[in-house]
């Protein structure tokens, strides 16, 4: 996705000022020069170093507090000509190997007639939509690839082990057993593919108008019934007068169930004491101003955090998919959201694991407000005894 952007995007190692990544636009503008962004902005190159130092002093130990695409990132502007302006977004982030790094994005913003600006905004919005879909598809592909990788790795290992034994004439032992295991792993990979194909074949969800927040109300009580509810409480907030959504209610409830289940497991695994007062808050509300026409499913938590990072799973994401073990859950959720023309926003938790924040499109124009929820905030109801 970054490769196809018009903006020039680069990631630099803070300490060595080494170019870790550069997209096509960056390479076009600056080649392999790591100081491209700094030169364009008329800044000396140590900016990244300073920013890395500043982040290292933060309480989060240098992990990102804002996202590259959000307004909170460091933003500077400069003019390249009378009709164009360069907007720069910079952001410190931890690289995969934990080296502190900084991401920079540069794009040109042209001034002109209002019609041109409106057309430009529309064009940008369309591009943003396409990019967002690509991001979602990328997330899905990544999850599928990871799930498929396990059986394929096992097959490769079994086969290579067999080849070694044949070459060394060491076939005594358990070659038949190894072949059977290989076949089982091939079946496992086939089942994964079959499951995904079966899901994708259901291309058009059975859409119907659903009152906003109804699913969250029915499902948010689930974790309390199945995970250690004695140590924490669950609260649900549903915004007032949410427009109805045109969705497949079964699929959307499946999304919520999966996300809430992940959150419940995360809280349960944190093994908080009963006196901790931990509270999970589930909110179903309108999208942010940047995402008008969307419902936002948001989760947060109040209460003490686990003592040290790494000792226990972070429990911040209540309705967010932890993504710790990508499997059917993490594959199914983006597929469902995507099939509803919704969006999933990836973000980092404090422990560096990705989590997803789903946005759902509502269709307020076609469905009268009376079909939506009349008022808000239902307290969690006791789970049904089974």
């Amino acid at each position: 996705v970054l490769e196809g952007l018009d903006a020039a995007v680069s990631v630099l190692s803070v300490q060595q000022a080494e170019l870790l990544f550069a997209n096509r636009s960056y390479r076009l503008w600056f080649g392999a020069d790591a100081r491209g962004h700094a030169q364009l902005a008329g800044e000396p190159s140590p900016t990244l170093r300073e920013r890395g130092r500043r982040h290292a002093m933060e309480s989060l130990g240098g992990l990102p507090t804002t996202e590259l695409t959000e307004a909170g990132a460091d933003s500077t502007r400069g003019a390249t000509s009378s009709a164009a302006q360069v907007v720069r977004r910079a952001h410190a982030l931890p690289a995969v190997d934990r080296r502190p790094a900084g991401a920079d994005a540069h794009r040109h913003r042209h001034h002109g007639a209002p019609q041109c600006r409106a057309a430009g905004r529309r064009h940008q919005a369309e591009r943003a939509q396409v990019t967002s879909r690509l991001v979602t598809m990328g997330e899905m592909a990544s999850s599928v690839a990871h799930e498929l990788n396990q059986p394929l790795t096992a097959i490769t290992n079994y086969c290579n082990g067999m080849i070694t034994r044949v070459r060394n004439d060491h076939l005594e032992g358990r070659p038949a057993a190894a072949l059977e295991k290989t076949a089982r792993q091939a079946q496992r990979a086939g089942q994964i593919i079959h499951r995904i194909r079966a899901f994708v074949k259901r291309s058009e969800p059975q859409r119907q108008p659903v009152a906003g927040g109804r699913s969250s109300r029915t499902r948010s009580t689930w974790p309390a019934s199945s995970c250690g509810a004695a140590t924490w409480r669950s609260h649900t907030y549903v915004a007032q007068r949410l427009p109805a959504m045109l969705v497949d209610p079964i699929l959307i409830e499946q999304v919520l169930l999966n996300l809430v289940k992940n959150a419940a497991e995360a809280i349960d695994n944190a093994k908080l004491p009963p006196s901790s007062g931990a509270t999970s808050n589930c909110a179903w509300c309108r999208g942010t101003p940047r995402r008008r026409g969307h419902h936002r499913v948001h989760g947060d938590r109040h209460g003490p955090r686990p003592a040290r990072r790494g000792d226990r799973p972070d429990v911040r994401g209540i309705l967010l998919d932890q993504g710790r073990r990508p499997g059917h859950r993490t594959v199914a959720v983006p597929l469902i959201i995507e099939s509803h023309r919704g969006r999933i926003k990836a973000q980092n938790l404090y422990n560096g694991e990705p989590s997803w924040l789903p946005f759902l499109v509502h269709d307020a124009g076609r469905y009268p407000r009376s079909e939506a929820e009349p008022t808000a905030t239902a307290p969690p109801t006791p789970p049904p005894s089974s």
């Binding site: 990871h146 790795t153 290992n157 082990g161 190894a178 792993q185």
Partner: protein
Amino acid sequence: MSLIPKKGTVYVVDDDEAVRDSLQWLLEGKDYRVKCFDSAETFLSRFDPREVACLIADIRMDGMSGLELQDRLMSARARCPSSSSPAMATCRWP
């Protein structure tokens, strides 16, 4: 002729049973002694730093991840070269 381990010990830490078993099959075919563990915590509880060995650990595991395991070994100054799967191209020497 039987397979007699003689090249050294390889620790395999992976929560996927098939990956563990297949790596054991592969490495034993190359005359390595293989010890498998289903979690980083189990490995640490049984790890003998005096033994000459190397480690192959899954990056993504429930509980402690492969990278965290490497950090723990490095902080304990355990001389055990380690590699993370599936990104096996990287090899770190504590």
